[in-house]
C-alpha cells in the first residue's frame, strides 16, 4: 500500500478537516479505488454517493488509472460565477 495525497476542497475539506488527505491504496489503482479508500477514512462518511474526481487537472472516470506522481483531487459540486 502507498499513501496517495488527494486534494480536497470546500465542503470536502471541511469533511476531512484538511486540504490534503493521504489515502492508502495499492499503486497503480483506479479512481474508484481511491474514492472507496477515502470513504473508510475519518470524515469519509460525509462524502456524497457520487463523487467527481480529477486526475492531473482533468475530470476523470471511475476507471481512470492512478499511479505515482499523478495529482488526484476530489471535486465537490462546483459553484463558480
Amino acid at each position: 500500500m502507498m499513501n496517495v495525497p488527494v486534494l480536497v476542497f470546500a465542503s470536502y475539506a471541511d469533511a476531512f478537516g484538511a486540504r490534503t488527505v493521504d489515502v492508502p491504496v495499492p499503486l497503480p489503482c483506479t479512481v474508484a479505488d481511491v474514492v472507496s479508500a477515502m470513504r473508510a477514512l475519518p470524515g469519509g462518511h460525509r462524502l456524497p454517493g457520487h463523487v467527481l474526481v480529477a486526475v492531473n487537472h482533468a475530470y476523470a472516470k471511475p476507471g481512470t488509472a492512478v499511479d505515482h506522481g499523478d495529482e488526484v483531487a476530489l471535486i465537490p459540486p462546483v459553484a463558480g460565477g
Binding site: L7, F9, A10, S11, D14, A54, H57, A58, A73, I75, P76, P77, V78, A79, G80, G81
Partner: protein, 150 residues
C-alpha cells in the same frame, strides 16, 4: 490595437477584477462587438440575506478548464476573442466575482459566446463558494441541490 490571433486571457485572481483589462485584451481592429458578463455578489440568495462570499478554486485545474472553454468557443465561433477572469478570496456584497469578455466581428456570435461561456464556467470550472448570512450561518453553495432559474 492587438492582433486577432492572440490567445485567450484566462486567470484566477485574488483581488478586484478590472473589466477594462478584459475588454482591452479581446479588442482589435477586426471586431465590431464585445459582449461582457460580470457576476456580482448580491445581498439576497434563495431568500437569505447574504453578507459576503468566500470563493475557493482549484487554481491549475480551474485555469485549464477555462482555457478549454475558451478553445471550444473559438472552434464554435471562428475569429472569437475571449477573456475570462474569476476572483477568489473573501468578497463583499457588490464585489465582482467573475468577468467574461467575448469579441467578434459581429454581435450575435459575441453575445452567444459570452452566454455560453458563463454557463460552461458554472458547470465545469472547479470553483466553490461559501455564503455567509446575516444570522452568522454559512454554507457551501451546491447548485445541484437547487432548482432556481439562472
Amino acid at each position: 490595437m492587438t492582433s486577432p490571433e492572440r490567445g485567450a486571457l484566462v486567470e484566477i485572481v485574488g483581488s478586484a477584477i478590472d473589466l477594462h483589462r478584459l475588454v482591452a485584451h479581446v479588442q482589435h481592429d477586426g471586431i465590431g462587438a464585445i459582449a461582457t458578463f460580470l457576476g456580482t455578489v448580491r445581498d439576497l440568495n434563495d431568500g437569505r440575506h447574504v453578507t459576503g462570499i468566500d470563493y475557493e478554486a482549484y487554481q491549475p485545474m480551474a485555469e485549464a478548464e477555462m482555457r478549454a472553454i475558451a478553445a471550444e468557443l473559438g472552434v464554435q465561433w471562428e475569429g472569437l476573442s475571449v477573456a475570462m477572469v474569476h476572483r477568489v478570496g473573501t468578497l463583499a456584497v457588490g464585489d465582482v466575482s467573475v468577468a467574461i469578455a467575448c469579441a467578434h466581428a459581429r454581435r450575435a456570435p459575441a453575445a452567444d459566446a459570452m452566454r455560453t461561456a458563463i454557463e460552461a464556467l458554472k458547470v465545469r470550472v472547479p470553483i466553490w463558494k461559501r455564503e455567509h448570512y446575516v444570522d452568522g450561518e454559512w454554507t457551501w453553495v451546491d447548485p445541484t441541490l437547487r432548482a432556481v432559474a439562472p
